[in-house]
């Protein structure tokens, strides 16, 4: 991760061995990736998840199931910021 440049990270939450939440915190902790746009796409739909992701620095959060238009809109919104 540290050896490459990334323009955007789209990640699920429920993953093994590292969850998307842990990935988000790790990415935000790396100087080279701290500003990289990060979109969470997940079935985790509790408020505390959204708040935790926001506090950890997520740029956008998409609830599954989602459609292509939603993903496109969220990506555009992230790059418009």
């Amino acid at each position: 991760m540290q050896q490459r440049k990334y323009g955007l990270v789209i990640s699920d939450w429920n993953m093994e061995p590292m969850t998307g939440y842990e990935l988000l915190k790790e990415v935000r902790g790396l100087p080279a990736l701290s500003k990289t746009p990060f979109i969470m796409v997940t079935a985790e739909s509790k408020t505390e998840n959204v708040i935790a992701a926001k506090k950890a620095g997520v740029n956008n959060y998409i609830i599954k199931p989602f459609n292509a238009q939603t993903l496109k809109t969220k990506i555009e919104a992230v790059f418009a910021e």
Partner: protein
């Protein structure tokens, strides 16, 4: 339990005490021994009956417990039902994956199809649509497999409930294995709730609202958060 009659013993002991200073005769000692034996025989008989009754009750309880454990069918559950349910769920996952791949392939084929020849295009699309309809039939079989798994869970639940009621037991708080405890702590720490049922989780508009609140300084708007909990 009947109380032993110690009056004769009391009387003899009183008489012996009256003879203080005199030698105690052999007959007094023998009489003392006789009366002691008679007095306590009743006591020990009563105690034996009580102990015997208790032992019998314990034996009956153990017999009943063994019967309840047998009715639990733990061996059948562990070696047959749960593995079978696991295989059904594996089959559900495989069937769902296969159907999804098939549907996606058809969709990609339709999207890539050459549309210049309208009749040929329609034929190609119709053909793929039929394949998609066929693939969607996975839901019928997976639904039946899931029903079998639910039946197994209900079987286990009925057995365990009956056993718990028969032995009149209650849950012991914190009775998790180390592995279960670690998994529970990890789920809590990493907010791993999984998909929520309809009406329990929040929808995309609420997520957007939450994320957009006070974007300028990155703080959460308490009123937005409060609104979500209202």
């Amino acid at each position: 339990m009947s109380v032993a009659n110690i009056e004769p013993l009391d009387t003899l002991v009183h008489n012996i005490r009256q003879k203080r200073g005199e030698d105690v005769s052999l007959s007094d000692v023998v009489r003392l021994a006789e009366i002691s034996t008679e007095t306590f025989q009743a006591f020990f008989q009563a105690m034996n009956s009580a102990v015997l009754r208790e032992m019998r009750e314990i034996a009956d309880y153990i017999t009943a417990m063994r019967s309840e454990i047998g009715r639990l069918q733990a061996h059948d559950i562990r070696t047959a039902r749960i593995p079978a349910a696991g295989r059904e769920l594996d089959a559900v996952v495989k069937a769902t994956e296969a159907a999804t791949n098939c549907i996606m392939s058809c969709a990609e084929a339709v999207m890539a199809a050459e549309a210049t020849d309208a009749a040929a295009y329609k034929t190609a699309v119709d053909e793929k649509m039929l394949v998609i309809f066929e693939a969607c039939s996975f839901q019928d079989i997976t639904g039946q497999r899931v029903a079998k798994v639910v039946e197994t869970l209900e079987h286990i639940e009925a057995r365990v409930s009956a056993f718990a009621a028969a032995v009149r037991t209650q849950d012991i708080a914190g009775a998790l294995t180390d592995e279960e405890q670690q998994r529970a702590e990890r789920k809590l720490r990493l907010l791993l709730h999984g998909p929520q049922l309809e009406g329990v989780g929040i929808a995309q508009p609420e997520v957007d609202s939450l994320l957009s609140s006070d974007k300028s300084n990155g703080n959460n708007s308490q009123s937005d958060i409060d609104a979500l909990f209202a």
